[in-house]
Symmetry: C2
Subunit: 292 residues, 2 copies
Amino acid sequence: MRIGIIGGGSIGLLFAYYLSQLYEVTLYTKTIEQAEAIEENGIHLICNTKTHKGSVKSEWFEKWSGVEELTIIAVKQYHLNKVIERIIERQSKNTDFIFLQNGMGHLKFLNKLYTNNIYIGSVEHGAYKKNLYTVLHNGIGETKLALYKGNMSLPSSISSIPNFSICFELDYLEMLLKKLVVNAIINPLTALLDVTNGELINNEHYSSAAKDLFIEIAEVLTLENRETYFQQVVEVCRRTSENRSSMLKDLESNRPTEIDAIIGYILEEAEKKNIKAPISRMLYFCIKGSER
Amino acid sequence: MRIGIIGGGSIGLLFAYYLSQLYEVTLYTKTIEQAEAIEENGIHLICNTKTHKGSVKSEWFEKWSGVEELTIIAVKQYHLNKVIERIIERQSKNTDFIFLQNGMGHLKFLNKLYTNNIYIGSVEHGAYKKNLYTVLHNGIGETKLALYKGNMSLPSSISSIPNFSICFELDYLEMLLKKLVVNAIINPLTALLDVTNGELINNEHYSSAAKDLFIEIAEVLTLENRETYFQQVVEVCRRTSENRSSMLKDLESNRPTEIDAIIGYILEEAEKKNIKAPISRMLYFCIKGSER
């Protein structure tokens, strides 16, 4: 199987490296410079201090035409709009898609695509892009996939790659909601407070703040089984207690954050349902104002 | 007139220096070490890069017995409880009191005091304690005083000291409320966001956050003439735009903050009136959790 991956960030590099173990992978990048660096060096993956090298083709994104059987979209939410436009202009074959974005904001774009099968993915790996072709795999997690439309037609070999487990969920909406809730609590609070994920459960005051925020969000999203959702937040904080969240790292590196895809979505939902969400609004403004 | 000042922080030192120009001042300090340093060196005040020396007596606070005609309480809100207890035990004469605390939390202690005249003060100077006996006067503002109980019996000379203007307000509650609102907006937001006061009006997102918080607080305090209160917040941000707020400096220096006296008071009022104050709660938890 040929796989095209759009987006040369940490997740794009991670997927390209692992999938290249079994498939013919082409990574489409935003800059020609990165494509050339990958063509020259392959992709280097560092895991447990050992460096592994993967053989991956790379092209500038402008060259993408959807000739691969599967296309994985690994760009951030805030670049998605532009990427979708180009896809609609250029798609030459009926390729399947996997979307890996955080939040729920990308769902509204998906019905614009001419294609049979679309999957939604939720990535729980920790990965850090060291340079144009090197990615540090510093948290071995898993990828959850769920069908958004069409039929499940991925080869079963895709879930057999070591350190890169893939599992399937029945309900994409529930899967995304779970991740959204985790992200909506952990990301803005850790980014604002400049603390590791574990602090949200170890510091009693931060933990009260997280609880208040959770209650507000659960109301907006009309969540059932709230205790389960909250336990998942606590569990992720515990498991990744030493990690700095992606939003905190984005602010530190003067990159835009995914606040629009995460808290922005909560605020849209709150407005639709005519529910007040004062804590989410406050966090939205605080993070938005801190972006450079 | 003899004046006793309790508290050798920046405000205590500032008042001791200026009032020693006209009166016999004794500064009562928490540590014997500081009292000895002041006895030896006097108080040094640095203003516009020039150092001035004031002649001030100093004693350990345990020696206080209220023999001076006027006692100024310049300790932080969170030390007040202990200070009031000692005052009640030791007061030997009928001294007048001036209380200079932020917030409103100190009001509940005042009726415990056996005394004729009590004033409430609101200090708008910028001052920074450089060492045990040196204070930097880096923002020349003014002190507002209002009578809490008894009669106005201060000598008129008290408002004639250069760079240390004192003015009188009729309504102590309104005076404190104005300061409370300014503090409740500027302090927690700047401390949490790690920004100067000016950023709250220059950054459009922070400014939206400040506005949301103001609306919540105005509701809790049932403020009339809201626009006036809000304009005052904006005005203070503009005038002190390069300053880092006291709460931000407290967090940076690992000192306790005055969050209980400021947002804690708002939360108490909200509970009394059965009004929800989700933004204030969130800020309270975030600041409280950040104190070391």
